[in-house]
Amino acid sequence: MTSNPLHRRTVLGGAAALAAGFALAGCGDDGDGRAPQERKKGQRISLTFWSWVPGIDKPVDLWNRKNPDVQVTVEKVSAVNGQQYAKMHAAIKAGNPPDLGQIEFPVLPSFLLDNGLLDLAPLGAARHKGKFSGWQWQQSVFGKSLYAIPQASGPMGLFLRQDLFDKWDVPTPRTWDEYESAAKAVRRKGAWIETFAPTNGNRFAGLAWQAGAKWYGTHGDTWIVHLDDEPTRRVADYWESLVRQKLVKTIPDRQNAWYKDLQTGAIPAWVGASWGDALLVGNAPGTKGKWRAAPLPQWKAGEQAFANWGGSTTAVFAKARYPKDALDFAVWLNTDPESVKLLIDGGYGFPSAKTGYATTDLDVDKDFFGGQAYSKVFADAGAHVDTSWRWGPGVDTLYQRLGDAFTDALADGSSFRSVLTKVQRQTLADLKGKGLKVASG
């Protein structure tokens, strides 16, 4: 509640803050000083890099020691609720973005709408293609352009409390049918195998990806949105049946209540991703040695269909003053063996680089997984990710729409299929509202 009339200022909440931000940011724009240029030999320059990755300063310090002429300054941005992207979009609009930024795969297209990112193809970025995992490189390719250098991905897998599964005599589920049986068995023991977090669009997208969905595509200069397709419906039906049978909880994941359930064994499994190891270690230290990683359950026994949840890139903003040096830094950061090693130690998931590290380097928390070489599970998954998946503009809005619609469905009992229909319709309208040509898949 407001305490004094001055607070009325906040009536204009977002808009006013945004406006003020632009107005102020606009003052700092030095206009013509931003034209991209070539660095002269021996000239000292400095680049700014916005990131939220813990431990990112270590590889950057290393770069600064090795490249005294190109000094990179890391500015930490908050990654809570997408605040970092709000800040980047605002900076782009104000005309004074940093030189480089950490941007996740799904939100890249939203930045292309702002014309916020630099096309790296004319700078000859294609010569680095072979250094990276193919599908991750493709995530940043739009038409003939390339907009970012991949850093890390998040191949999906299944984390489970082996001790409890053994004690309850529940085999590790290899298919989604077996997973449902396991859920029933776990429920009989008074625990819940998982939570279906209605607001977690990222994971739902990954599960649809695994089932063979293609949410976004392009046709000429039209975006195709195809959320309400057969594979996604299968995934929606499956989780709906688990929810309706009361086999899974519906609390938000990666929040206090969920961590508490992991600590106590009230939730003994998690359909997660490679970066989840750090999360389990950090939030359920008391369960050390009891967890194992298993491949993501399959729709058909013996198949090898995998998907990705999370992962991000290093992008160069369109206004970067020294594009070539920014690109060199982005490539070095994500391929140099020493840098990659430091990134891994910082707990930043699965490198996009093909070489310069061994899978065993990634087993940072081996003891926590009872000595299991758990990264192999995710490496195998990463090798079988369906590479044709594409992201489109406005994914953050899509996630929010999904979250809202799933929340409604859980409350009023409407079907998960109707969620897909509704969000498909809304997404088409959202993209039209952004001035894009869209069609339904």
Binding site: R9, V11, G14, L18, A197, I251, Q255, A257, A411, G433
Partner: protein, 333 residues
């Protein structure tokens, strides 16, 4: 002053009218203004200038900008809308139509109105009761209690929401645990209860503040009124009912208006509790909806339109309330 007023040689004309021209003369036309007056005016201007400059920069300019933003929209060209041109084009009221066609935005309004209808009266009744109690108590501990009740207001809303969040989340909350032990399944964050869990946070925060406003007004009540009442044989209850309550009416109206505005702007509490409660959607309150539009959808134009609508509703409701309450105050004389 003006002797004519007292002469009453013109009974047809109400006496009170006569001083008016005189008063107008005093503010008078320019030619009568002395040099001192001009100097005064300049001094006044010089002293108020910083205020108006800041007011314009920090208050009027953003409002103007938001209004401007709300009337435009972005058009994109180029293949797939990528890498082409971005233009701001005039959209008329399209953003407003878009906002008003959005069910979630309207539901959010309904939600805060319901919230206000229940929470504001409760809080003000509670604040009034506390103020009257503390005002009539002659015990030593009055200052202590006054500070204790006021203390929550010193806790920023975000922090308060985090604190209460711990008391609401199952698995961590001692309240839920205790209730569970006696077989009572408490859920503070379900779709039906989460709004009232937020109401509880807000009440906890602002009751003490409103109480203090009321106490300040109570302190201004002249003592002889109480003496007169006592001589007339009024008991404490009657004094509260017939003297104190009517006299603190302005303060009650004030707290009412602030609370209405605050309720419409409800933002921090649902924003903080959102990750903990799936039941809080992206448009739980109108302010949250505008925030999501701006910072998730990156659509400032729609957000600006929603913010303007929210401001309009706040204006209508608070002025409406003032008219209503003020009008009734006049009847009381």
């Amino acid at each position: 002053m003006n002797r004519e007023v007292l002469s009453r040689d013109t009974p047809s004309r109400p006496a009170a009218v006569t001083p008016r021209p005189a008063r107008r003369n005093r503010r008078g036309p320019r030619r009568r203004a002395s040099r001192a007056g001009a100097r005064n005016a300049r001094a006044t201007a010089a002293f108020t200038l910083p205020f108006f400059a800041l007011f314009g920069l920090c208050f009027l300019a953003p409002i103007g900008y938001a209004l401007h933003q709300s009337l435009f929209t972005t058009e994109r060209t180029g293949p797939l809308g990528l890498g082409g041109q971005e233009r701001e084009v005039f959209a008329g009221l399209a953003n407003y139509a878009h906002a008003l066609a959005d069910d979630r935005f309207l539901t959010g309004f309904g939600r805060v109105l319901l919230f206000g209808a229940v929470q504001i009266p409760l809080m003000i009744v509670l604040a009034t009761a506390l103020a009257l109690l503390l005002e009539s108590a002659s015990a030593r501990a009055v200052p202590f209690f006054r500070s204790a009740f006021f203390l929550p207001y010193g806790v920023p809303g975000v922090i308060a929401s985090i604190l209460w969040g711990f008391l609401y989340v199952p698995g961590i909350s001692p309240l839920v645990k205790i209730a569970g032990a006696v077989g009572w399944d408490l859920d503070f964050l379900s779709r039906g209860t989460v709004l009232w869990s937020i109401a509880n946070i807000v009440t906890w925060q602002f009751t003490g503040y409103n109480m203090l406003v009321l106490i300040a007004q109570l302190k201004a009540v002249p003592g002889e009124l109480y003496e007169a009442a006592r001589i007339d044989g009024a008991n404490a209850w009657q004094v509260a009912r017939h003297i104190k309550l009517p006299l603190i009416r302005p303060a009650l109206v004030l707290t009412g208006v602030f609370s209405i505005i605050g309720t419409l702007q409800l933002f921090a509490e649902p924003m903080v509790l959102r990750p903990l409660a799936s039941a809080i959607d992206s448009g739980f309150t109108p302010n949250l909806h505008a925030y999501s539009e701006a910072f998730v959808g990156n659509n400032q134009h729609a957000a600006a339109a929603e913010a303007v609508l929210l401001a309009l509703v706040a204006c209508v409701l608070s002025f409406g309330f003032l008219r209503l309450a003020g009008g009734r105050a006049k009847e009381h004389g």
